[in-house]
Symmetry: C2
């Protein structure tokens, strides 16, 4: 049980043209017009395959890694809400109503101050203005020894990848061409060389990729 | 969260010639001389991928479904120990020393009476002389709403399959030919027709199969 704490990206859907979200997040379109990225995804299985009354398929099993061993999430503000600029006094508590699925502390990266928001299920949103490295320091304190999930959106994941901070990624390569959206890979040419990458295709046609950072890169 | 309770077989290794254990279980050879069936399996991941200090691969993620949502296990006596006939007064508490991985009630099927054995981590072995159907009734009471895992060995799984009691199976088809052992499939010709079967190959060459029973078979 001496495993070192990892920084992970879990279950990030990416189109064949490299987009991982739509580009116009609104109250009605949390995915910014790119709902196709989620295919037939049943979000309940992220907390265990037993939470969906549905067959236990490869896609569902792979999705269930999302919650395993994670002690904290870091997300961009667009994943928390559609607001921009100063936070309005509108009572917004996130997209998830009374039960956000995280059930851990969550760090929301934003340049605009906001009070902490707590839920009965253990989810606590902390609003922080910090660089990726500084946010990670805070996350390690909040994680209780668990792993740190970089929860998106794609711009946030991109920043952590650029800074060489991600140990593991599970990508779902969706067989769709979006044509527009938020790109995942901007400025990251060659990054695949730092990872061992396993690709597995489920019978649905989804390609699951597991990126594990080389050990020699960890020390060098 | 209204999912119905399932009877599952999780992570059963099967050779290409249909054997799922060796045929001479002894104290020194718990797998009965068929250790190859386990390949490079790292058992720690059955309680979550974070429990192995190792890359998160498809094989490890698939293995992690073992513990998800299970409330009780049913096993044959050969999985509990190498003894035969009446239980000797030898202080045997199973193969797992102080921390059996189950952390739930476990029903050990045996014709020979034995006192219940409890461990601090929640594992409690109940020794029961019962048919598969009767054992399942008891298991449902012990499961606390969780799923019921048929934990093996192969003869036990075979009995539950013959009686039509298994809703889900995760098989790992190992690319080996054992030549001898305990067969999984005896008397089960045609059983595949009752299931939707998904096969996924990991980069290691292991084939993971997910058997989900047809819904129409459930009611008919």
């Amino acid at each position: 049980m001496s495993r070192s704490q990892q920084v992970r990206v879990d279950l990030l859907n990416v189109s064949l043209d490299g987009y991982a979200a739509g580009d116009h997040i609104t109250l009605d379109e949390p995915i910014g017009g790119a709902g196709e990225l989620f295919g037939n995804f049943d979000g309940r299985v992220i907390a265990g395959v037993q939470n969906a009354d549905a067959p236990i398929t490869a896609d569902r099993v792979f999705s269930s890694v999302w919650g395993q061993g994670v002690g904290v999430e870091i997300m961009g503000r667009g994943k928390f809400g559609p607001q921009q600029g100063d936070w309005p006094d509108d009572g917004w508590r996130g997209w998830w109503e009374d039960a956000p699925p995280f059930e851990t502390p969550v760090i929301v990266l934003t340049h605009h101050a906001h009070d902490t928001i707590s839920f009965d299920n253990g989810t606590v949103f902390h609003f922080v203005d910090a660089s990726p490295t500084k946010a990670l320091e805070l996350a390690r304190d909040l994680a209780g020894g668990g792993d740190i999930r970089i929860g998106g959106g794609p711009s946030t994941v991109n920043q952590f990848l650029r800074d060489g901070l991600v140990d593991f990624m599970h990508l779902t390569i969706q067989p769709i061409v979006l044509g527009r959206g938020v790109p995942l890979w901007s400025g990251l040419g060659g990054i695949h060389k730092n990872y061992d990458i396993e690709s597995v295709t489920a019978s649905t046609g989804l390609i699951h990729q597991f990126w594990n950072r080389h050990h020699d890169e960890d020390t060098g």
